[in-house]
Symmetry: C2
DNA sequence: TTGTAAGCGTTATCAG
DNA sequence: CTGATAACGCTTACAA
């Protein structure tokens, strides 16, 4: 049982007593072959359930039709949805996707890029680990002429296509939405200031307030640690302060959830007492509505766009490369009813 | 810019004016080589940043060190966590993981298995689409001597290693937990009866009730459609009935969430009026506590176990194959406080 | 200790 | 129209 050896072009040639080159031609080739021969070959091929060996092809053609993807963690909705998008496009264009996790470790990311080049992947899509602040491994890829696309966590040090989310617009629109609903006291709770996403979101928040001439005194951004306890304390402080905001723009899902929890504990109702809009990618967050309005990242689109850019890059390798950064828009999942509408 | 051609063993041999076989030996080989030569070769290899071409190796050794994974949807927490586990083990044992989605389509699943064999993957891990009721494509793999492991959605028609969750025990334990908390009126809401998970969970539920001698009249399993509206109606009917149960065992996450929603609308408090335990894999479900106690599937372990079994299979290919089904236990995430404790 | 040559499965080139 | 041959990068008998 078991065929022991997968059928090759050679088997067909032996069976038909013709040369392998004829078989090869019959299978792919153009016109330079007698119709009957071709038919015969195809028939036998089908019969034997022949499948071309893509490894051999890869060796010959010096391309693998494989795209390598490096992400921090697959089991993270953002990453997995993005990969789904990548896979979708790759599949439709005849490419395969190989996945690697960096587990947020720089070292592992480096190893992964090495494995990828050893595998001779045709291109790489990466979202770097949060430990990564050196980029030699990526430069290495580029130097080896392996096309690279970065998404989400990108860096200015590398010159290549990048796909990111328009954080500025997302924060701006969310804040504007709150203002239009009558809020004038909106706090922005966010994480470490040095991250680009933090800065962009903050800028969007501030610009919206400025546009609507909200006094600078009511413009408050609170940076808090990603550590659960510290985050909790910071949030508690905000809600306990005498001038409690009527709305919150939460910069990351975890903050949004923490706000929900704290407010519940304080017996404040959401959104009647405090409205919350938070960045959140979890499909389950639907069930939180109307407590929480969410800013969803277009993860699937990020994946699709990244794959498209990469494959284009792969297929016109020689061409003059102009790299650009694509900004995709977020989607706001607004709860049906809002504070002020309700009070009417 | 760009090296044009990745450095090969040949480049090293030319550089050193020795034969390729010597280089090869220096790089892998045992003792049959002069120390100095080896050092020299290694040095040059490092200098040129040589990386063995795994495509060539694959062709020669007739193995790719690639594991193919087919899942319905990557962007599904169950699948992506499982893949994470697979990747983890694969990585540690020198394998790569290539991902395919079936999008719950039988046709696409078949195509995927074909692509996988064309790629000459060393083995395949699959969770079949819910459309899949023919298994020729899987038999085909086995016939081609490509090891196969199934997880979660398995089928009896295929004889191979399988990794599933112990649904029976999960349902039994959850039900027992509710009983120990004083509930005697527990309803089981579940989906289509023909699925194996449904049957196993139902059996677990029933056996727990029997063990504690709950009268048969209070043993009620309601099957409802997976369609949102119909599900909603079925659930509403249960809670509106004069003999409303005091606890619910929800067979799938969607049902659990639907219960939460309906109960909220009816102004019934959870878990004071009705306690709910539901199967749910979403990491976000933590925020639902204490409303919902969850039965979590050990997704990561499923992936790890599947990969281990597969790689073992790959590496002792000839050996006598005894296939078995591994049942992994679920984890109950019980809310801290429960109905009856609270009422005290 | 080192080199030569064959072979893994294909395709392309060049003769016939 | 068809067949022999080289080549892709590497390993491994077998010779030297």
């Amino acid at each position: 049982m078991g065929e022991q050896h997968l059928v090759t072009i050679k088997d067909i040639s032996r069976r038909l007593k013709i040369s392998v080159s004829t078989v090869s031609r019959a299978l792919r080739g153009g016109t330079e072959i007698k119709k009957e021969t071709r038919e015969l070959v195809r028939q036998v091929a089908a019969e034997l359930n022949y499948q071309p060996n893509s490894i051999a092809l890869s060796l010959k053609e010096k391309r693998t039709k494989v795209i390598g993807v490096i992400v921090p963690e697959i089991a993270n909705n953002f990453c997995s949805s993005t990969i789904a998008g990548i896979e979708e496009i790759a599949y439709s264009r005849g490419y395969y996707v190989t996945i690697f996790q960096s587990h947020e470790r720089y070292g592992r990311e480096v190893t992964n890029t090495q494995l990828l080049t050893a595998r001779r992947v045709d291109g790489v899509i990466i979202s770097v680990s949060n430990e990564t602040n050196r980029y030699d491994h990526l430069l290495n890829l580029i130097q080896k002429d392996i096309p690279l696309v970065m998404f989400d966590r990108v860096c200015s040090e590398i010159n290549t296509h990048k796909v990111v989310v328009n954080d500025y617009a997302a924060a701006f629109n969310a804040t504007e939405h709150l203002i239009k609903q009558g809020h004038t006291d909106i706090a922005h709770i966010t994480i470490a200031d040095f991250l680009s996403i933090t800065q962009n979101r903050k800028k969007g928040y501030e610009d919206a307030l400025k546009k609507y001439k909200i006094p600078a005194g009511k413009r408050r951004t609170v940076h808090c640690s990603f550590d659960a306890k510290e985050m909790d304390r910071a949030i508690r402080a905000i809600f306990n302060s005498p001038n409690r905001p009527t709305a919150i723009l939460a910069s990351v899902e975890r903050i949004a959830i923490a706000c929900l929890t704290v407010l519940k504990e304080m017996n404040l109702s959401i959104p009647e007492d405090v409205a919350i809009i938070g960045f959140s990618d979890n499909p389950l967050n639907n069930i939180l509505k109307p407590s929480l309005s969410c800013i969803r990242q277009p993860t699937y689109e990020i994946g699709k766009k990244s794959a498209e850019l990469l494959i284009d890059l792969i297929e016109q390798k020689g061409a003059g490369k102009k790299f650009h950064t694509v900004q995709l828009d977020t989607v706001m999942d607004i709860m049906e009813s809002s504070v002020f509408e309700r009070k009417n």
